[in-house]
Amino acid sequence: MGYLVSFIGILFASLLLIGWVDNKRKGTVAIIATLMISALSSIIAIKTLAGQTFTLLLKGSLVTGTVSLVVDPLSAWFILLINFTAITGVVYGAKYMQAYLNKPSGFTLHWISYLLAHAGLLVVCAAQNALVFLMAWEVMVLSAFFLVIFENHKTKTLRAGINYLIQSHIAIVVLTIAFIWVSSVTGSFSFTAIPEFVSNQKPLYSFLLMLLFFVGFGIKAGFVPFHTWLPHAHPAAPSHVSGVMSGILIKIGIYGILRMILLIDINYLATGYFILFVSVITGVYGVMLALIQHNLKKLLAYHSIENIGIIGIGIGLGCIGMGTASPVLTWLGFAGALLHTLNHSLFKSLLFYGAGNIHQGTSTMNVERLGGLIKQMPHTAILFLIAALAICGLPPFNGFISEFIVYQGLFHGILTYPFPYMLLLIVALFGLVLIGGLAIFCFTKAFGAVFLGVQRQRPLIGPKESSLQKLIPMYMVVGAILAIGIFPQVFISVLNLPVGQFTGHLGASADAVQPHSIQVLNHLGFYSGALLLIVAAIFLYRSRRQQVSVCSYSATWGCGYVAPTAKMQYTASSFIRNYRKLAEPLLSLQKFKKDVVGVFPVKAGHTIHPQDKVEELLINWPLHKFRVFMFKLSFLQNGRLQFYILYGMAFIMLLVGVPFIIYLIRFFVNFLNTI
């Protein structure tokens, strides 16, 4: 109780304070507030992970009924990762926002929304009452919306924001329906009612309920085909917001799905295969579109979708494990999913912060314009490179650990399951490998185009390295990434509690069922370290050689061409051209081409704008049709009094006439019968 009071106290005090102080200091206040809130919630979370579950029963109001706030290991895991990214985000953002000081308004709204979003996320993790959950959820959504539309004088930003708002609203509507269903059967808004529902209803209904929840949370998490808000919202938002959104906001959807898996005890096999299927599509689709983007932040947004796919594959495996009463698979699946959730929140936020540095350094996000930045901003370049390696799941970084666990799960499934079941697993394997390969492809493109070579267009403003306050949080994140990469076993041991909640369904405690093959993770770190050592050794030897032998510098070898220009080097889109040709049937690209014609050709050009096929088919087209239809109907309010009267007359005549006509017909029929 004391926790809650102080939580609310801190929150509101800081909100007022933010409204009060001037723009420069708002950031600092936000940092302090976030730190305090995070500390407060982290204490609870750590206690929980130490074994004592935190439960709080509030009386609630006449509407909500009893409100129970529970922090179990699952929530604790999410609370911790939320806090970490929230802190790095606010520290980075406080500096990032300094660039907008000339913009008069919006700072108060922005920082208040930031704190509210953080608080909302935390409450969502703890609330066990449907109404409170929905409220906290919407607080989070709305504040995130205000975070996104910080640059609200741009129509584009506003449109992206509204797009996000509406899709989140659809999500909350779906969730509302699901909760209504539960409460109309059980008459209670508490989460404890959901298992009750499941035990009373047909399995089919429970599955439908699960489906509803999956859709609701899936929109938030960005599963294909519910992902369309993501690629618009992330580029529109300020970079630290994109980092936080992609890092933790979409993860809350994952949390919801996991929570519902815990609560809805149904035929997990079907659920598992469903989730697995959707996730494979999500992952592959996400990375396929990421590859063809020009806008760096949009590219990163699509990578979030891809990673959600990987997490989903983990969850699917876990469900299959639960469905087939295989503790090992359950462990592998959920451990992989949870760990990858953490990992993604780390490296994706890092990538977005890096993108933020680039944006403020060069004031563009178009990779075709950039290049050679590693010279001007070495820190950012190295940080970005590390994050890129991590997101590609390469050793010695954290991405590899979680993907390795998921691979273990997949192979375990393939090796132990009968034929028809394992087919989807092999597809998932195929997908996962493809995702890995494409991710490498994509990030070699991104890193190469942005940081390497020479700048392709004359720099708009001389790029320069970001200040320390922006770099420190990034180095914090790198620290975490390396920690997980080199010493995974620590985190695995922590993971045992949340995963234990799932294996608990099979009556097995997590560390008991923790598969032997996972012991290798203890060595993996060592191997990764060894890799680093070997590299270091060779490099040292090489540089020793360099001293004795003579080294000189000259222009890049142009095969004899003497006047190379920056435009001649390979661009990002030419880098992926082969792939684009290959994948064209699956993508939808807007091409504008102006060929070279005539003896004295004029300026020619060729631009390609990647579109989202799913969005076109599922959102734009029906919406367009709907609006056309609606517009056709707008003759009703035509300003003619006679019509207004006629409406009433027609209404009455219909109500009177229709039954009367029916009567006449019946009368006539009877008459015929009498003849």
Partner: protein
């Protein structure tokens, strides 16, 4: 341990054998077996010329490339003696470590800001990306066949399959050879003999490397060959006693080198835009193998 030493040793002469085979096949009196190594050592001693556009990435990439291959080699067992690194799912580690090297190789090519090397990098990235599923599904099906997920155990158990497993072994061998060719961008995919825009993939990536780095890269290729050769060899070794294993291993490696040489001298390079299909065929082939395994295990009926 044994495997590591052997592979490193064989890598010294591997490309020598290849070149020798090719020269014999084309009726020339070619260079000696040791010639490639001599070149490499000369390169090690030489100084280097770097492009002004390059950065630290370009400097460090070859070392990482080399190190990654060494790391990968450590995973490979020899008959009944484990590799230095061996655990369940170690081939995932194997593939990903190789990927690290590839990653740096590609970005170092991009680092030069050249109009050629980007092209090579792009193709390298695409083809290796397409080749990876084949490898994973191959290992998956082998794992399914044997019930293990580490190279050592898989190969130990593999030999005692039914006769069908030999057929599978042949398919696997073919896939591995092809993957090896793709990874080293050799004949059916790319032609190392020619230069620049004719050799579209690997050679063009390392246009700007010189001196020590070039040497490293050259030898990395040898190591890769030897590594894949070792994989192929392992499929036929089983856990024979050591005094049988080692000669068998060596002879298989030599055979592999000869095969590569013959392949290179008697086949022509695909057109670039055919490569993708060709590589995808490998994946489908490995899927075929997967179903073969299912049949063997009687899971598929």
């Amino acid at each position: 341990m044994v495997s590591f030493v052997l592979i490193v040793l064989i890598s010294l002469v591997f490309s020598g054998i290849v070149i020798r085979t090719k020269s014999i096949a084309s009726g020339r009196k070619g260079p000696g077996i040791w010639q490639p190594m001599k070149d490499i050592f000369k390169l090690f001693k030489k100084g280097a010329v770097y492009s002004e556009t390059t950065s630290i990435i370009f400097q460090i990439a070859p070392s990482i490339y080399f190190a990654s291959v060494l790391m990968a080699i450590m995973v490979i067992p020899l008959g009944n003696s484990k590799g230095l690194i061996s655990f369940a799912g170690d081939f995932v580690f194997f593939a990903y470590v190789l990927a690290v090297g590839k990653f740096f190789n590609i970005i170092s090519a991009l680092d030069t800001g050249s109009s050629f090397e980007g092209m090579g990098a792009s193709r390298e990235a695409l083809f290796s990306m397409l080749a990876e599923p084949a490898f994973f599904i191959l290992m998956g099906s082998l794992g399914l066949l044997t019930g293990y997920t580490s190279f050592h155990e898989i190969f130990m158990a593999f030999h005692f399959g039914s006769y069908v497993s030999y057929a599978l072994g042949v398919i696997a061998t073919f896939i591995l050879i092809m993957i090896c060719m793709i990874e080293n961008s050799r004949m059916p995919v790319d032609d190392p003999k020619t230069h620049l825009e004719l050799t579209m993939i690997h050679e063009v990536m390392i246009l700007d490397n010189s001196g020590f780095d070039l040497g490293l890269i050259m030898h990395t290729i040898n190591l890769k060959f030897a590594m894949y050769g070792a994989l192929i060899a392992n499929m036929f070794l089983g856990d024979a006693p050591m005094y049988l294993t080692i000669p068998l291993f060596l002879s298989i490696q030599v055979l592999f080198a000869v095969v590569v040489g013959i392949l290179e001298s008697f086949s022509a390079r695909f057109r670039m835009n055919h490569n993708a299909q060709f590589i995808l065929v490998l994946s489908s082939l490995s899927l075929l193998m997967f179903f073969g395994v299912l049949m063997v295990l009687g899971k598929f009926n």
